[in-house]
Amino acid sequence: MSDITTPPSCSDVVVPAHTCTPGGGGGASGPVVPVTSEVVDLTDGSWTLYDPDGLIDTSYGTNGATFDSGTGFTTIKMAGLAVGDFKYMIAALNNGHFWPRWYRAIDGADNLKTVQMTTEFVNDATVTPWARSICLGVANDPTSTDPNIMDGTGGFFRHGGSPSNATQYGVWMIASQTSGSNLANSRGVATVLRSRDSLGSGAFITSRDDTGRAIASGTRNSNFNAGIGAGDAVPVYHILGIGTYGSGGIVAGSLVKMRFAQTSSIIDFTGA
């Protein structure tokens, strides 16, 4: 892991443990902690870019990204890729994970805690599409190029690059994904659950803009316990990655413009 010299200032909302007090016939409702999502800003100083093969144009904005605080949209500029490879695909196992990613620590989280992360992706379709994939989630080692050491799970997006292709929103598990694919897709919500050294599983819902109603839902299981070691606790990190849809290249100057939002909870079930 590369050093993080500046402590990240996470603005995540962490849901504290609470006890459930049963109501006594008066119709008292159970405890609920309303959560406000964080709109992700890669330029806020909490994120570190790891880009082993230089796919991000770091002369653009702050380390390759700009953030519009009015709309919440992030724009990322690509440096280009002459020859594609499976290693730049977020949802492929072959040749490792060499796609660029931003990462930051999650305060108080480790692989043994119960960590639940919910993300929302909204794509800006006015930007010229290219065959891209995107993830926002949790990883044990975000700077590893080995998918089974990175151990990442989270929300997922991809698009084939042609205006006739449907956008796909779903969940990413290590080096695989399941998503809803529909031309009417406007956004996707996903939740991943990890606990006790398991990478757990995820669920997603896609929805449309005109009615605001859901189009599809689905799930994916990681089928994977990280196996770091009995009793060992290691920190886990937020990760936001940009990759290719397939094994093709990237035209220099290509943009990603999306609104990313997330909440992360470290849940303590021992406090009851």
Binding site: L93, G170, T178, S179, S181, A216, G246
Partner: protein, 83 residues
Amino acid sequence: MPEIFIDFPEPDTAQPEAVSGQGVDGTSFDTEGFVIPVVVPLDQAQAWLDLYDPANQYSPDAATSREIARTVLDALKAIVEAQ
């Protein structure tokens, strides 16, 4: 004949999904399709395996093959017709 189940109670809600993954032999795939969960009861898994010889290209026999195929295809038919 052992049993298998399809866990899909609401075929009219089915939507195609884009799936990128790896098979049990490690082969990667990337496709759009219908994910149909097949459940093999734990106490019948060995009975199924007893009917199968991977070294014999004609295994399993027709009756066994038909049992599995019809269960999966009935589910696929319900899903596709509900689209």
